[in-house]
């Protein structure tokens, strides 16, 4: 089923009343109109929050790198320098917009748009909580993989259109890297789809539980290895160090966005930092239990039962808890991504391709087959429940 943020909200009486009142006042069925307004508001909230997270990502990056290198980092704008990203944004808007005379103007302008559209479109299926997911499309993860690959097109076009050698090299590397690492990432996603039995985010997370032993990460050994394959591939797909060859400062000046200045560069940076959040969110949803919280707190049923709370209020509290769980896990992964960047040295191009095609892809295919066999042999039970059952039988015999 395609549940959306509207489906969740329509459980409340106020919305039903408002729809019927509007239908009377306007003289036609207002449910579609109300759905559109809710979608618009929800999309605005998501885009606003995500842009802030993207901005704060640049701040976190600088602050954490400073921390790892025993420096102070940005500390002038606002408390602890937290408003640094706003200052950067204002600066980028104020900077002159230079388009090289030799560039392919239309493609040059199109490239940052493609990057941003690709990243923003993926936000539609990011499951913040069981109720607050913009649209839980029935092709959820497939849609996400497809939309995310639009970023690769943007990176390549940006590099190509600049007509600068550095940009060209960066764009070429970026495109080949993004498409190469899409293979292990997609195959790993398929192995998780095998375990869950569906493509929508609701199904993928629904098969997991709030406790760590119920996550797909610990479902079986293949999924455990798969998490690391996916995470490495995701790092490479977002052009993050140690796979930041497309923008390797020390060899390619700035890679595919060498010729971009001002806000056009800012859009690339914004898209990149939001994309990091998106892939961390996907990793959380696929392997780390997503928004699930322990003890059925998410549905609020326990609150109604024990404390006698109003049903809708309990549900809303549950949603907030779920959102907290999702964001905590995702930010933890976000920290790891930044941590990795400032710890590991960059790979060489041939090492990059060797890692992808000769290590990650075979391992991912092996994991896929392993997951399929596991599903068939153990009837989809996780390793934890198998151990638990065996222990129970053994204990029962004595």
């Amino acid at each position: 089923m395609n549940s959306t943020v509207v489906t969740y909200l329509s459980q409340s009486k106020e919305l039903t009343n408002a729809i019927s009142w509007l239908t009377k006042a306007l003289g036609f069925d207002a449910s579609s109109l109300v759905a559109f307004v809710i979608f618009l508001v929800a999309c605005l909230i998501v885009v606003g929050v995500m842009s802030t997270i993207g901005g704060l990502g640049t701040y976190a990056e600088r602050k954490i790198s400073a921390d790892l290198q025993m420096r102070i980092g940005p500390n002038r704008v606002g408390p602890y320098g937290i408003l640094q990203f706003l200052a950067d944004g204002v600066k980028m808007i104020l900077k002159e917009d230079i388009i090289p005379s030799g560039a392919d103007r239309f493609t040059f302008m199109l490239a940052p748009f493609l990057c941003l559209v690709g990243v923003f479109a993926t936000l539609a299926v990011i499951p913040f909580s069981s109720g607050f997911i913009l649209a839980d499309l029935n092709v959820g993860i497939f849609y996400l993989v497809g939309m995310a690959s639009l970023v690769g097109v943007g990176v390549f076009l940006g590099g190509y259109a600049s007509n600068s050698k550095w940009s060209m090299l960066g764009g070429m590397r970026g495109a080949s890297q993004i498409i190469s690492y899409e293979i292990p990432a997609t195959i790993t996603i398929i192995s998780i789809v095998l375990l869950a039995g569906g493509l929508s985010m609701g199904t993928l997370i629904g098969g997991q539980g709030g406790m760590p032993q119920e996550w797909y990460l610990f479902h079986n050994p293949f999924a455990f290895v798969g998490f690391f394959v996916f995470f490495i591939a995701a790092l490479a797909e977002t052009n993050r160090a140690p796979f930041d060859l497309p923008e390797a400062e020390s060899e390619l000046v700035s890679g595919y966005h060498t010729e971009y200045s001002g806000m056009r560069f800012g859009l690339f940076a914004l898209a990149e930092y939001i994309e990091v959040f998106v892939v961390c969110g996907v990793a959380t949803a696929l392997f780390l239990g997503g928004y699930k919280v322990p003890f059925d707190l998410g549905t609020g049923a326990i609150l109604v039962e024990k404390l006698g709370m109003d049903e809708m209020l309990a549900k809303n509290i549950g949603q907030l808890l779920e959102m907290g769980a999702f964001f905590t896990k995702t930010f933890a992964l976000y920290y790891v991504v930044i941590w990795v960047r400032w710890t590991l040295p960059r790979l060489r191009v041939d090492q990059l391709m060797t890692l992808c095609w000769k290590y990650l892809t075979p391992i991912a295919i092996f994991n896929l087959l392993g997951c399929a066999v596991w599903m068939y042999a153990f009837d989809g039970k996780s390793i934890y429940s198998l151990i638990f059952e065996t222990a129970a039988t053994v204990a029962g015999h004595h």
């Binding site: 489906t7 618009l40 808007i93 230079i98 748009f113 080949s176 892809t361 399929a372």
Partner: protein
């Protein structure tokens, strides 16, 4: 809401429109306040301060093309795997898991055969070794 209701794709359209709006809006807003003093030197491509020699749109390393070709094969195969993976659980529950497992295995093995072929031919090596090229040259004789 039925499965075929296209209303659920509304957020997708809205988000794409918002992305355009954010990108276009920030550029337009900047256009009102930012300086605009282009000159010929400023508009040349950056080549570490030297004058650019020739265009960047020249012949490029063929390795990237080979990678793209290999990618297409794998991407199509993985796209075809999605439907099978999505129904695998249901099939195991109704006792047809074995049939599906065999089809998954045969499908993936074809994929693996392709990978092994590329590997053997040296298409996965970034720098195709002179050794393998020498071997081909011998065979031709």
């Amino acid at each position: 809401m039925s499965t075929f209701n296209l209303d659920v794709y509304m957020p997708v359209v809205i988000l794409i429109a918002l992305a355009m709006l954010v990108a276009g809006g920030s550029l337009l807003l900047g256009g009102l306040i930012r300086p605009h003093n282009p000159n010929k030197l400023k508009e040349t491509a950056y080549e570490c301060g030297e004058e650019p020699i020739g265009s960047a749109w020249a012949n490029f390393n063929v390795r990237f093309y080979v990678i793209a070709l290999v990618f297409i094969i794998f991407d199509v195969e993985s796209a075809l795997m999605f439907p099978v993976a999505a129904v695998f659980k249901k099939f195991t529950q109704i006792g047809l898991g074995g049939t599906l497992l065999v089809s998954v295995f045969s499908f993936v093995l074809i994929l693996v055969a392709g990978l092994v072929y590329c590997w053997k031919k040296g298409d996965l090596d970034w720098i195709k070794s002179f050794h393998s090229q020498a071997n081909y040259a011998k065979k031709d004789k």
